[in-house]
Symmetry: C2
Subunit: 367 residues, 2 copies
């Protein structure tokens, strides 16, 4: 009989019986149940992201035999999307799920843990987290806020965005009104664009009506769902601004530290499981959605021209240096990130990049 | 106090006290401990592979509060490397760790679950497993052998191998004696090479003495450790023959099915954690080792010429069709793999491939 079943069947009487002898009392303590709340930055039912946060909670419950239950609230259900950091930091709720770059205003160094323009892709940033200093630095950056974070997902390379006009040179960004958050937005601003931030529900309409000229979102799976192909003609790649966006799960550190070692282990393990699950869902789902966008909706995919990318890259480099100047810990994280990028750079060029190029003739889009 | 600590401190007396009341007895049952053995196909201490199997066991013990302990045996310690499949299938031991293509002689369909020449890379094969039919098919293929498998690691794109002469055209494979296992070996044989299989301990000496002309192994981290740079001059890339080699953990199905749901969940979760951990270790470690090979040991890296790769690719395609003919389930797995490769192919060309090409100018090796 499993413990869960035993507790269900025997209930309070058994607990009382066990508690009545001094030596057995700790057994009851060991069965302590944790009932946590998780708030997220995502709309309800958002595939992979909100769904991933819910999957995380479900898996933790399963493998802890119900000792730990996490109730998940989408953005706005308990706190607004951008209130997640404070809610978890202050202990209003025990945990949250989102992306670290949302907290850039409070914690500039957090941005490196999401994605850096022209930075590491999913395989690279995971290697930095688990096989380099990434995760340790993240813990250092969040500690003053009573938070501890774990990677919980990765989008892979995103798409470059939907544009209502062709982007031929860097000058085409001048005066361009684009919805693009985070570091990517800072680069676009440097290129002369106007960065517009909009509630999720307003993006499609704004693009359709020409209130904005362009928007990035995620990748084919999520972009198809938003219907952007009905509002903008050109779908650009690659997503230089977010080449491997890491999603986060964060815990109130005091609450996390109070957990017994096994539950801590389960949480950590489940975050890593969800991280790989998420990247796999993006890869499979984006593949299928891109086929649909191309064949059914006749979407035109265009690669950003190389000279334009070169200019963006110079500006991205400047942007990252500016961000690194904001405080000593940002500088420290920036240097670690850069060094790790060098460590895996040449290796990537002879492994994944060389291999992708070998199979590319079969898959490359014409033109 | 944690349960583990409680049990340690109070020991038998406490267990007896609890067992002396009828209602509490099931609690003792619920604490049933599992003591399993795992045999692997790897030499002792082999980084990431044997170390990963040991890490898996350690993590399972941690998060199960010691309810499940797995004792890990390297190749030859309990059964020989190639005896792992039978030992787990027959229930001599409860689980094993290795790579599915080692069982090709018994189970031709198993080969697709490791790596296919010119097939899916790590990101792709993981997406097939977790976001496609891959894992379900693997369960189907192993069921007649009373086995259930999970991905437990991935090497990423491997290196193409160490050669004592330059490989300029496909004809250079004629008469070439190469140590290369699995499907890659079948392709090399088709190209006129002589495939040599050697015990791990004999590879270096055979290469150094010219008993073989070439060998593939893994990637820079493991190749550096083997000292191949002292025995062969040319280090070729990319590893077309194993573009994302999946490692496996397998369980005797009867033993697995006997586990309570939470321990099953822990095992599955831990396998997925180890899978991502392993790829991250390979990525970080290969990056560092390649730097050392290039700068310290002056190793010359060469890309296989495109026409040579084109020929190998045609032969690989023929090879896979021949393998798929071996039984109906191989055909079924082959078709699923091919279809999934199409699903993620164009997506990969505009995401990872396009992105790698954008950053390539910084990292590409000259020449």
């Amino acid at each position: 009989m499993e413990r869960r079943e035993f507790l269900k069947k025997t209930g309070v009487a058994a607990a009382a019986a066990v508690a009545s002898t001094a030596v057995a009392a700790p057994a009851v303590l060991a069965q302590k149940k944790y009932r946590w709340k998780m708030v997220t930055t995502w709309p309800p039912n958002l595939p992979v992201l909100q769904v991933g946060a819910e999957r995380f909670a479900k898996r933790v419950e399963e493998v802890s035999e119900g000792r730990m239950k996490i109730q998940v609230f989408a953005a706005g259900e308990l706190v607004p999307a951008l209130g997640v950091f404070d809610a978890v930091s202050q202990g209003t709720v025990e945990c949250g799920s989102g992306a670290a770059y949302y907290w850039a205003g409070k914690v500039p160094a957090a941005q490196w843990f999401t994605s850096v323009p022209f930075g590491l892709n999913a395989q690279g940033i995971n290697a930095w987290f688990y096989g380099g200093d990434g995760l340790k630095l993240w813990e250092e950056v969040y500690a003053p806020f009573n938070l501890i974070a774990r990677p919980q997902g990765n989008s892979g390379v995103q798409m470059g965005g939907w544009f209502r006009k062709k982007m031929e040179t860097i000058d085409d960004f001048k005066g361009l009104k684009m919805r693009i958050p985070g570091l990517g937005g800072k680069v676009i601003a440097k290129a002369g664009g106007t960065v517009v931030l909009l509630p999720v529900g307003d993006i499609f309409t704004s693009l359709e009506r020409g209130v904005i000229d362009a928007t990035e979102w995620l990748g084919p799976m999520h972009d198809l769902r938003m219907g952007f192909y009905k509002a903008a003609q050109y779908y650009y790649y690659p997503g230089w601004h977010e080449p491997g966006t890491c999603l986060e799960v964060m815990f109130n550190k005091k609450k996390y530290d109070e957990l017994p070692a096994d539950l801590k282990g389960i949480i950590d393990m489940c975050a890593m499981e969800t991280n790989l699950w998420s990247l796999s869902m993006f890869e499979a789902g984006n593949g299928a959605a891109l086929q649909e966008l191309i064949t059914k909706h006749k979407v035109e995919l265009i690669r950003f021209p190389d000279p334009l990318l070169d200019e963006l890259r110079k500006m991205a480099k400047e942007t990252m240096e500016e961000e690194a100047e904001k405080d000593p810990v940002s500088r420290k994280v920036h240097e670690s990130f850069k060094k790790f990028k060098e460590q895996v750079g040449v290796w990537g060029s002879v492994s994944e990049n060389a291999y992708y190029n070998v199979i590319a003739d079969k898959y490359s889009l014409k033109g």
